[in-house]
Amino acid sequence: MNAPLTMKDYETDQEVRWCPGCGDYAILKTLHKFMPTLGLPRENSVFISGIGCSSRFPYYMNTYGFHTIHGRAPSLATGVKLANPELDVWVVTGDGDGLSIGGNHMLHVLRRNVDLQILLFNNEIYGLTKGQYSPTSKVGTRSPSTPDGSVDRPLDPCSFALGAGAQFVARSIDTEMKHLTEMLGRSHSHKGASFLEILQNCPVYNDGIFEQVKNKKTAADSRVVLQNGEPMLFGKELDKGIRLNTSLLQLEVVTLGEEGVTLADILVHDESNKVLAQMLAGMHGPDFPEPVGVIFCADVSGYIEDVYAQRIKVREARPPADMNALLRSGHTWQVE
């Protein structure tokens, strides 16, 4: 029996080329620590990425890896999985890579429910091309291409994923190793496509956009950590919560003990409730806490599994493949 793998086994000898302080480092480190805990043979893992700072990721993971072209990682990963369903395939992408140029592929890989773990590093900016605004940048983002502030409305990655039919949608934060590790584990154990948005700081081009959610002082009031079956409470004293306003059919923030609010009024998280998931995914600051955790998780079969199941069925009903028989199918005639 081989010795169990360690973090070192997943590091490569390549010089990591992200800017100092980049959130990508923290995510990389968490993955290095996480991968050995799966207890899988290292050669069965594959990391596929597109283009962007985040997409350099595979070069730093000592597994099989493919740094491909901008936006297309989901398609390449689909091909890898179709060819060899045994492989453990991860997609690493950015907000530009996965939701701008590659938005269509992201939509379809989620809709099809291809058995992959998709990690979307959302820094709300195009890092690699030097800081242009991205489809997730907030209105008013000043960037080289929007010197007077962006005017187009951003999309919300988790809402997008749910809209596309994703069966697993979760959210975590680059520097929260414990939470991120837990989310990686959940993503990995889910069959079908797992979509994990990771809020990632780009100190060079978009520094501090997630500061509210990350800062020790403000975090407790700015985010709600979702736990299945638990009431959605947050705040330093865990005295605030999310309630469903049934007359307006929308979520609202309430404080326990105020205006007669009790624990019974607080919504209990149910990962399998898609309507709730959609409401949570669209919940953003400053008026609401940002949800982190598993927003939605449904147990349905994955695409690759279904493709192979169908193939087995067809094969059972047909004689084995024979090239000469195929060529001679249909009408043939003999010329003497």
Partner: protein, 624 residues
């Protein structure tokens, strides 16, 4: 009204012919393709050599009677070396005025027209653009006309089966088929068996159609036909003995890809996005799940090629297919495959362009795109199919080159070959030599940049192999370690190495041969792709007239055969017919600095033999 009754003299004597061209034309909903296919099968079974050419409109169901909705199927069959679907039509079956007006120009003087007189209503004639009834105004006097009240007869025939008027009329094509079968002395058995199989769940419909075929046939047998209309006899062709089937280019290509996969001992992932006229490949392969093939209908062409590359990375053979516009979308990813040196087969079934162009018509205008149409220095092998059955061998060859050299390979086919059909003497697949791929497994000293010293092919280590974990990607890779490298000298070295690898393939492909004629002489007609059949016939005729002409047909478009330049220089003149505005001619000029004359046709229709023959004659005369 039917002219048949008016003519008293029957001359039902068989007339011997060497070859006949029949064209079935009607509304796109009239079932002309089905009629044509059935007739083709009967003709093949009869023992004629043949070639077919379906020609359908882009609209699936155009308004009834519209000229732009006319769908046609042409078959040329004969007793000797048939390689095209024929120039001029001898027998035109026109199911309505629109079919007559759009196809009449191709009919030879004295040719036979069979029409459904019932379809010549005022409304239909007006819609087709006829001011007066052509069946009555003498405008068809140059031809022999067989005007029959087909609709009425069909309705009478199928009445016992209880079909509605609408469904009853749909049997018109089978009635016409029956008549045509009689005209050429074909057996109805296969068609009847086919109908019973096709409509197994709807026996009424099956039997109504069978009755229609039989009624059409009986009509020919029993009715006194006008003078000059008689059974044609086209003697069986002298074809080499063996087992035959009829095959379209698209089927042959699909089978060839499967065969290539078997010979390489690799499973295939075929990823595509529907586009006319390339979709049939996806359809065919999707029905072959008992072979080692997984098909994937992607969300677009980019996703398709990327999934194919992903599959190749994982150790299978990735194949993608499209037509020109879709190939444009794939370009960036093909360059990635060139950069990371993974096998990939790309099939381009060319159509009339640019843009949507003539999606159901044929053209050869993507040659530049195939050879040059990517960013950066990204040479790759390009091979072209020349006949329907040739598609099988070309597909195998593409798989061989892609897997041996770890490179994308483009197959150029076209809309004509995809849909056309010809009899194929079936090869024994056991005679094909395998070229099994060996994936790397040796851990000691492994680098993802390792390459074979002879072929320069990069090592292929597939995920799942212990100890060979490695990364590849689009950033330039160090020639030794495979790590990312921005080093200037390394990039120069790698660029030249990638080029040398592709250039080296010229040593691994057959030398260019001469298809007909001498290896030196006055004139070489040089073609590529689906023009093979027409050039073959044109050169044959010219040579029968003692002209010093040779036919050279190129399969390996890139890299070209090592002897091609020398071969071409052995001729005083070179004539290059192409279904584009002169792409091969530019490439040959650039590569070999030879002068050549082009013959261009971009009408969406294949060349006619006489067009090429005329160009040969003009060329010979200008020099004599």
């Amino acid at each position: 009204m039917s002219v048949v009754e008016e003519v008293s003299v029957a001359a039902a004597q068989a007339r011997m012919l060497e070859g006949v061209v029949v064209r079935f034309a009607g509304d796109s909903g009239d079932g002309m393709q089905l009629t044509g296919n059935n007739f083709t099968e009967a003709t093949a079974l009869y023992g004629n050599d043949l070639a077919t050419f379906p020609d359908f409109p882009a609209e699936i169901r155009a308004p009834a009677g519209a000229t732009f909705g006319v769908s046609a199927f042409q078959i040329y069959f004969g007793s000797d070396d048939v390689t095209t679907a024929g120039d001029a039509v001898d027998v035109l079956v026109a199911m309505n005025p629109a079919a007559l007006i759009t196809n009449l120009k191709d009919l030879v003087d004295g040719g036979l027209i069979v029409v459904d007189a019932d379809a010549f209503t005022d409304k239909n004639m007006q819609r087709a653009g006829y001011k007066a009834n052509p069946l009555e105004d003498g405008s068809l006097d140059a031809y022999r006309l067989l005007s029959i009240d087909i609709s009425k007869r069909v309705l009478d025939t199928v009445k016992p089966f209880g079909l509605s008027h609408k469904f009853g009329l749909r049997c018109k094509n089978m009635w016409t088929l029956g008549l045509t079968m009689w005209l050429f002395d074909r057996s109805r058995d296969a068609a009847i068996a086919g109908l019973r199989k096709k409509f197994a769940k709807m026996p009424d419909i099956a039997e109504a159609n069978v009755a229609a075929i039989n009624a059409g046939h009986a009509f020919g047998e029993t009715t006194e036909l006008p003078a000059g209309i008689e059974i044609y006899k086209v003697p069986r062709a002298q074809v080499p003995p063996g087992l035959y089937r009829n095959i379209t280019g698209s089927e042959a290509l699909a089978y060839g890809l499967l065969a290539g996969g078997q010979l390489a001992e690799l499973p295939i992932v075929f990823a595509s996005y529907p586009i006319t006229p390339a979709s049939s490949l996806l359809h065919t392969l999707s029905g072959q799940k008992h072979f080692e093939v997984v098909t994937f209908q992607a969300e677009d062409e980019i996703a398709a090629v990327c999934a194919a590359i992903g599959a190749s990375f994982a150790g299978s053979l990735g194949i993608t297919s499209s037509s020109g516009p879709g190939i444009s979308l794939k370009a960036e990813a093909i360059s990635l495959a060139c950069a990371v040196e993974l096998p990939l087969v790309i099939v381009n079934t060319q159509r009339g362009g640019p843009s949507t162009g003539l999606p159901t018509k044929t053209e050869q205008s993507d040659l530049f795109q195939a050879i040059y149409g990517r960013h950066a220095d990204t040479p790759l092998p390009v091979i072209a199919t020349s006949t329907c059955s040739d598609c099988f061998d070309v597909a195998i060859e593409a798989v061989r080159l892609a897997t041996k050299y770890r490179t994308p390979v483009i197959i150029l086919s076209d809309g004509y070959l995809a849909n056309a059909s010809e009899p194929w003497q079936l090869p024994d697949f056991n005679d094909y030599e395998g070229f099994p791929v060996v994936h790397a497994t040796e851990v000691e000293g492994f680098s993802p940049a390792d390459r074979d010293p002879d072929t320069l092919a990069r090592v292929w280590a597939k995920p799942g192999t212990p100890g060979l974990e490695h990364r590849i990607g689009g950033i330039e890779r160090d020639a030794v370690t495979g790590d990312i490298s921005y080093d200037a000298e390394n990039h120069q070295k790698m660029t030249l190495m990638r080029q040398a690898k592709i250039d080296g393939i010229a040593r691994d492909i057959p030398l260019q041969t001469v298809d007909q004629g001498n290896t030196t002489g006055k004139l070489a007609v040089v073609g590529w792709g689906s023009t093979y059949g027409v050039i073959h016939q044109a050169v044959k005729r010219a040579r029968q007239l003692n002209m010093d002409v040779s036919h050279i047909h190129i399969r390996y478009m890139w890299p070209m055969p090592a002897n091609l330049g020398e071969l071409l220089k052995g001729f005083d003149e070179v004539l290059i017919p192409e279904m584009n505005t002169g792409q091969l001619i530019d490439i040959l000029r650039a590569e070999y600095v030879i002068d050549a004359k082009g013959l261009s046709k971009v009408s969406g229709q294949p060349f006619k033999i006489r067009e090429i023959e005329a160009a040969i004659k003009a060329q010979m005369e200008s020099k004599s």
